[in-house]
Amino acid sequence: MNLHHEDYQHKVYIRRKSPTWWLRNIKYFMFMMRELSSAFIGAFLLLFLYELFLISKGEAVFNQFQTSLRSPAFIVFYVIALIFALYHTVTWFGVVGRIQQVKVGKTKVPPSLVTASAFAGWIVVSIAIGLFFFGVI
């Protein structure tokens, strides 16, 4: 099914796609940023896992690492990771209303309402987790 010049009985010109196609316009660029967000989330989670691992290594090792996490370099990383994570959340929940059709009885719930509910759910969950750390313990 591939298009090769040799398949054509008449001469055609095939425009090659450059690997930097995604720099051509803002929409393609933001798509790539959305894809990249998953890598930053993954990097954060592996860092987080490493922190948990260090707890098993004892208080001194753990505390030393925690101090290094307060350095400017790590703070920049966390800010960037947070921005990417928020972008993932926004783009993910932004489309669920279009994809997942929700019916209450026979009435179709408008996509914007489905999306709004998803965001509301995200805020509730985030607050709950936040309260767990800020309030409960």
Binding site: S38, L49, F62, A81, T89, F133, I137
Partner: protein, 119 residues
């Protein structure tokens, strides 16, 4: 000529579930782990050794953390795999696929070992 792919639904399903977990939980956890203390919104002791060790004693906490850490790894693996395709990787597709999903599988193993064996 065209043949239904019997493995892709699994990876897409994992990508999908991982994406939901990441969308719901990543922002707040990044904020708490990395920014709440430097911004003086949280005492350092809350995330300190004693508290964390106590938390990691609870089976429910371990399961929650396992889900939090592992599922988005499959989300990232899938997205990275297809981003490589879109950046022009054509020659080493199978190796790249193995690297991506393999990474997620290794992360799964590490998380299981750390959360359920070391604590």
């Amino acid at each position: 000529m065209y043949k239904m792919d019997k493995k892709e639904p699994f990876w897409w399903g994992m990508f999908s579930v991982g994406g939901v977990v990441a969308a719901l939980l990543a922002p707040i956890h990044i904020f708490i782990s990395g920014l709440a203390v430097p911004l003086n919104l949280l005492d350092a002791e809350v995330l300190g050794y004693a508290q964390m060790k106590a938390l990691l004693g609870h089976p429910l906490v371990k399961i929650y953390l396992f889900v939090l850490v592992v599922l988005p790894l499959y989300h990232a693996a899938h997205r990275i795999r297809f981003s490589l395709y879109e950046l022009g990787v054509r020659e080493f597709r199978i190796s790249m696929d193995i690297l991506c999903y393999g990474g997620a599988l290794i992360g799964t193993g590490l998380a299981a070992y750390i959360l359920f064996h070391l604590f």
